[in-house]
Amino acid sequence: MNDLALRRTSLHDRHVAAGARMVPFTGFEMPVQYTGIVDEHQAVRTAAGLFDVSHMGELEMRGAYAAQVVDYLITNDASRLVDGQALYTACCNEAGAILDDLIVYRAAQDRWLIVCNASNHAKIKAIFEAAAKDHCEFEDLTDATALLALQGPKAFDVLALAGGDGPNLSTLKAFHFREAIVAGVRCTVARTGYTGEDGVEIFCAWNDAPALWDKLLEVGQPLGLKPAGLGARDTLRLESRLSLYGNDIDETTNPIEAGLSWVVKFDKAMFVGKAALEAVKSQPLTRRLVGFEVTGRGIARHGYVLRDTSGHEVGLCTSGSPGPTVGKNIGLGYLPAAMSAVGTKFFVDCRGKNVDAVVTKTPFYKRS
């Protein structure tokens, strides 16, 4: 894709003014960092960070049968949700391969919001739109919807200073959401995130995002709030072992081997991929997505080969980076099930050098 085709979020001018380095990302020009990945990472862990994630896809399903259609398309159990509750889930094909990971929001029994990865937007849109046909209404809200993530231990202190309903939002329970006015902007605030910290994700109208962004930064900066880019988002989510689609999970992986069994609810009467995943579940796994620490001198990167201690290729690193908070070089990768136990030693092939690594417990970081 050439640069001319790149889209910009409504916060583009803010990012540039803040000195962000802008990079192409899933068809958008997005900020990868402002002051520096480690600085932004630490801000989120110790105070708060504000992310523009307006590139994400937002789809709405409405009507009497919307709940059933959504539930059929996902592996987790949407029927357990009450109004104002959200759910992390996989979305698989009939072969049990992961098409995307989603957050599904029940606004009402007849109104559902689905948030998908920007990289999968076209694919997921096509699937939900096709499934909706003759059963419920489908609308793609992506172009009209901005999404900010306010994450970190001070996130609710920042919200409380932003006016409107801000001071009341700390009563939201995890994975719950509600309509609110924040900084004069009508929005939907969800207690969700992708950093391992407490915080919220805030949906608002595309053109309202700058007012919200400015206000949150204005009131939040004295508390240590910083704008944070995709670089920090990646190190934060990796330390918390949150999967990244296209790296750790994709159409060559299934939720069972990816460690996402907890979002596959076999007691549901039916869902796309159920039979295939039951077959996977009935057999011993051949491989597992594991977390590891590089104990030698090296940094594992996406795509690096993993070798057993005899030097044989046994797997691939799917994500890897220094972990700024854990202070170690960490990664995720697929290893044979027999090598997936915590403590198993192996090598990461760092461009021809076998560097020592060991399977470790995940998440690498858990907030206290």
């Binding site: 990945i37 190190t235 070089n329």
Partner: protein
């Protein structure tokens, strides 16, 4: 960003400081390279004192949180010093790229080849075109 005078620079954003009398050059990466890389977390110098290096050949890698970049010998010669401090303190490259962030010293008979590298003014132009 100030580009120090008196150094030579490669297109790969390394700096070279010549001690003509001793026919030795000190090699590091420029402040522009540091800015592009971001937080540097690992400097791997794959050479030891006494190793021969050829001009343009990789002698190590430098890694930031996000990316990995090769280090290329700007001239051929023999490695006579390695900055071991960077093993434990790679951030020195961020903090002081032209000083304590130096990487290797190469003894060379190719001093004349340094004339082919950018001077500060030409390097400034190169940075402008690299920064797009």
């Amino acid at each position: 960003m100030t580009i120090p005078a008196g150094l030579r620079f490669t297109k790969d954003h390394e700096w070279v400081k010549l001690d003509a009398e001793a026919k030795r050059v000190t090699v590091g990466i420029t402040a522009f390279a540091v800015e592009q890389l971001g937080d540097i977390t690992l400097v791997n110098l794959d050479v030891k004192v006494g190793d021969r290096v050829a001009a343009g050949k990789a002698f190590g890698t430098i890694e930031s949180v996000k990316t990995l970049s090769d280090l290329y010998a700007p001239v051929g010669g023999t490695i006579v010093a390695i900055n071991k401090e960077l093993d434990a303190k790679p951030e020195a490259v961020n903090e002081d790229p032209y000083g304590s962030g130096w990487m290797v010293v190469v003894e060379t008979s190719e001093v004349a080849a340094l004339e082919q590298l950018f001077d500060a003014k030409a390097y400034e132009e190169h940075v402008k075109s690299s920064a797009h």
